[in-house]
Amino acid sequence: MADVNVAPSLLDDSIRKSKILVVGAGGIGCELLKNLVLSGFNDILVIDLDTIDVSNLNRQFLFQKEHVGKSKAVIARESALGFNPNVTIVAKHDSVMNSEYNVTFFKQFTVVMNALDNRAARSHVNRMCLAANVPLIESGTAGYLGQVTAIRKGLSECYDCNPKAGQKSFPGCTIRNTPSEPIHCIVWAKHLFNQLFGEADPDEDVSPDTADPEAAGDAGSVALQNQASEAGNVTRVSTRAWAQQSEYDPSKLFGKFFCDDIKYLLSMDKLWTKRTPPTPLSWDNIPEEISDQQGGLIKDQKVWSPAECVQAMVSSIKILYQRSKELNGEESFLVWDKDDEASMDFVTACSNLRSHVFSIPKKSRFDVKAMAGNIIPAIATTNAVIAGLIVFEAFKILEGKWEECRHVYLNSKPNALNKVIAPSSLDSANPKCYVCSPHPEVTVLLNVSQMTVQSFEDKVLRGALHMISPDVMVDDGKGTVLISSEEGETTENMSKSLSDFNISDGTRLRCEDFHQEYDLNITIIDREHLEENREFTVIADPSQLQPKAAVESSGPQPSTSSSKPAPSTRATESVEIDEDLDVIFQKGTANDDHQQEPSIRKRSISGQADIGSASKKLRLSENDIIEL
């Protein structure tokens, strides 16, 4: 046990001699830096890529108004040093995923503390700490919820031991043709922003998708003729070029997106046999329905009427068009930002107009912002609590009492045993973990003739498996190199499909990430169609693999009258993570995961019984005594 008094002790000594890496200087990071400096730690490196935003100031107390726009790491260092100039703090305004932070770099630290906001960086730091064999303390908060856990190679589970639920994504044709929820219209409106002002991405097309497998049949040809006569050759030039021709005339844009395109969708009548068909809007006759007034709401929380939406659309287009005209050559497009007023107005207006067209409930600007920006509420108090808990875990690690380290959850309400904090022993590593097991393996389901090498690298290896610089060799006895991390070596492979390299059902790929010191074997399973129009599925534990027939039968019907290459229908639209958040492992809190999977996650809890299923029941009862 540590002596907390002035008298020196083993712990005091090891605190003073330790060197700490703090990854992230946001909500948790600020609190953590303060706690470390005031607990006697005096050699700290803090790294953060981000700059300071106004919406950080309600909790990231090392920053003030005049710091907006500056580096979080640099300002955090300055503020903490102002308090205690005798400690060494090094600030890096940089991405921790940068190649200069290699395994040797990580090895210099006694403990690494994550105060991050995104899964890719968490996963990366996890691998670096495993490779360098340095203890890692992982943490996260969302609103009133939070968690802290310690990770050490061979002694606990790692960050990737439990596959995280994928980001919520929507099939392309739901976004383009058949939205049924507000979020579908919001994603569409963000895509529209990019088509008109931003970096155009073919996966983000906003016009009707004629290759919708559901619309298969005769609709297409009729509709195409209508389209040709009504909108001229609109479809043959890019949306942006077309908009520029009319200098972003709002009535023309409105006419295309909320009238002509909708009429076109209506002509694909197979789509509407079971759905409520959309109602095209007319520029000359915008319904002035009474907007959703509720007493005492601020303007931002009011739902706009269609007329108000049009008003906001017109004014935001004007501002955005002006801005895009002023762009110089280097940055030729605007980037959508939830904290930019015109960008938010545009998405609120367009998503609500689309919702109106499709009889979907409309949302206030406040709610649209939360959904479009994937905003998770954040407050100072939760971060303070979590940063305190991180330091207690660090004490135990420094004392060498690894067995006393805990995985701690901060609940929004007391659990079955009337506790807001639920500590549990660390789980042992998952023997089938695709990161920390001795021979990592995953299975990837995809269509080998559709998936290009480029997509495989970007979406599977980097996107889903969080690799940084992968090298991939086909295990075909010849050592065919599919992807090389050396620039230019495999450029010519990128546009080819996997099947061009004789990759077929059952082919094994050897992947290596030199930077992460991480080797992974991938087994490819060839599937023509995947559930929910997904492009691929990663399976960490092959025993989870369903029988082939079951998967195929639940897939969509093959498209017969596809006038476009099929991939456009399979593209999925994902909502990206808000970068300035202090998000936890995944939305919905891991605590809930644990309640839902008591069999997998049976835990011995120090000083208390199992927190399992009973706590859910108790939440219904009267016993909500404290929320943090």
């Binding site: 005031l38 409930p361 305190g388 120090s606 000083g607 909500d624 404290i626």
Partner: protein, 546 residues
């Protein structure tokens, strides 16, 4: 184009940008409450300034620090807002200056006097605060402060960080919460007790006169209502209550609610989204409409019946009670909101309006009761605002009330709750009761000896023996004769702490306590009732009711 709409509906202020992430938790009215609150901190200890930090950042109206001490080396070592260059200067002044730097919207003030001096010179001083936060007070001072605030009905939050242990004690005589933010709030749909407007609306809808398209775009509430009518014809007025009965209702929805007009293209019947939604909603949408027990308790409370004070919450509660007994026929005012559902816009909006109109009618009734109550008692009309009545009605099924206990009485030797087996608790190594008693014992030690055990390094051994004495006398005082500690480990630990305030513990307790203060101020979410104990060695917490 239609008539002119607001100039820029999207314009938002700097403030709502800065507070965006927290507005999503307590709303703009919660933020307004926070911005009009005035908080007092007694003693700028590490725990105290950590609490204030987490209140200044989200934008509390103003704070006042009461502290007669000067900055010491120990302060500089564990308090972020007091550094070495300020040693010897007044703690209240230095901390106020640095805390104000965190947020320019917040006003700060300080008084360089001790709590005891203020209490004797100016006993009404604390009455003007929304909440008083106390740290670093002796038992005696805490006793006087607690009595004073209890009488004046000002909430008190006492926070302690002692070595690896922390505690928070809330003293609030009565707290009425309108928005308790329950986890599992059911929709207020009234299908079992349809109000006249709903009945009228439903009667205009004739499913057999629809074609497939019209049918499949009908809101699922209509389907549920129609199925329930069939059920009532066959099984009497009570809605299905068990699994078997609900299955019967689900079958009615599935097979007996069809549309009447069959057209050629209507070949896709059987998998309509609204039918699926109706079937899914059978479990939740048919819950019996009644006044929940926590709300009934409030309506039956003496305060509500006798209405002694001119208090807005109780006046509206009384008006709601009269509504329930008269116009409401035994049910609360309608909430007036609908869940999202598959439907064409026209009928969804029509249905939404039916619920909204009834909700505003109900709120109007309550508002009239309020005015009668005010008139009868000769109270000014402006004591209650109509918007508050609307908010109250909207949340009337989630009302909560907490009546706390007085800390001074606890310190006077109030017996422990009878259901706590103290001897058993003393055997458990991480019992929150044990930590609670240890914290009481070190305070007793301080009262008797003028310093905390182990504070002076050369006294540790004798202090352990003395603390042991304090502990058993405390048990006696609390009516636990014969209770004792089988091992002295914990007493050793308490002496070894020497009353040191660890920053990490202060940070943790500061975050928790600040959140409780926010709940008290916004009157949203349910605060802890009433003592919170934290052990940082095991990362365990518990809530005790004293």
């Amino acid at each position: 184009m239609a008539s002119p709409s607001p100039k820029s509906p999207g314009q938002i202020s700097d403030k709502s940008k800065k507070y965006d992430r927290q507005l999503r938790l307590w709303g703009d009215h919660g933020q307004t409450a926070l911005e009009s609150a005035n908080v007092c901190l007694i003693n700028a200890t590490a725990t105290g300034t950590e609490i204030l930090k987490s209140l200044v950042l989200p934008g509390i109206g103003s704070f006042t620090i009461v502290d007669g001490a000067l900055v010491t080396g120990e302060d500089a070592g564990n308090n972020f807002f007091l550094d070495h260059s300020k040693i010897g200067k007044p703690r209240a002044h230095v901390a106020t200056q640095l805390l104000m730097e965190l947020n320019s919207d917040v006003k700060g003030d300080y008084i360089e006097e001790t709590c005891d001096q203020l209490l004797s010179n100016n006993p009404d001083f604390f009455c003007s605060f929304s909440v008083v936060i106390a740290t670093g007070l002796t038992e005696k001072s805490l006793h006087s402060l607690s009595s004073n605030l209890w009488q004046n009905n000002v909430p008190l939050v006492v926070s302690v960080s002692y070595g690896f242990i922390g505690s928070i004690r809330l003293q609030v005589s009565e707290l009425c919460i309108i928005e308790s933010h329950p986890d599992n709030l059911l929709e207020d749909l009234r299908l079992d007790k349809p109000f006249p407007g709903l009945k009228e609306f439903m009667d205009t809808i004739k499913l057999p006169e629809m074609n497939h398209k019209q049918f499949s775009h009908t809101p699922y509430l209509v389907l549920l209502y129609k199925a329930l009518e069939i059920w009532n014809d066959r099984h009497g007025p009570n809605p299905p209550s068990n699994y078997k009965e609900k299955e019967i209702l689900r079958n009615i929805i599935k097979s007996e609610l069809g549309y009447g007009i069959v057209e050629e293209e209507d070949s896709n019947s059987g998998d309509e989204e609204n039918v699926a939604e109706a079937i899914k909603a059978v479990n939740t949408a048919l819950t019996k409409t009644q006044v929940p027990s926590n709300v009934q308790k409030i309506l039956n409370d003496d305060q509500c019946i006798r209405l002694k004070e001119k208090n807005s919450f109780w006046i509206i509660a009384r008006a709601v009670k009269e509504f329930v007994e008269k116009e409401g026929n035994g049910v609360l005012p309608l909430r007036g909101s609908l869940p999202d559902m598959t439907s064409d816009s026209q009928r969804y909006i029509a249905l939404q309006n039916v619920y909204r109109e009834q909700a505003s009618k109900d709120a109007e009734h309550v508002w009239r009761h309020v005015q009668t109550i005010l008139k009868e008692r000769g109270w000014a009309g402006e004591s209650v605002i109509e918007n508050d009545v609307k908010l109250f009605c909207r949340h009337s099924s989630e009302l909560r009330m907490i009546r706390g206990s007085c800390l001074a009485e606890e310190l006077d030797g109030k017996q422990l709750p009878p259901d706590v087996d103290i001897n058993q608790q003393l055997e458990e190594p991480d019992s929150p009761w044990l930590h609670y008693l240890l914290l009481r014992a070190v305070n007793k030690f301080h009262t008797e000896n003028g310093s905390f055990p182990g504070y002076y390094d050369d006294n540790v051994e004798t202090d352990i023996a003395k603390l042991k004495g304090c502990f058993s006398r405390l048990l006696n005082d609390l009516g636990c004769q014969g209770g004792s500690l089988s091992k002295d480990d914990n007493l050793h630990e308490m002496c070894r702490y020497g009353a040191a305030e660890l920053h990490a513990v202060a940070a943790f307790i500061g975050g928790c306590a600040a959140q409780e203060v926010i709940k008290l101020i916004t009157k949203q979410y349910v605060p802890l009732d009433n003592t919170f104990i934290f052990n940082s060695v095991t990362s365990t917490t518990a809530t005790l009711r004293l």
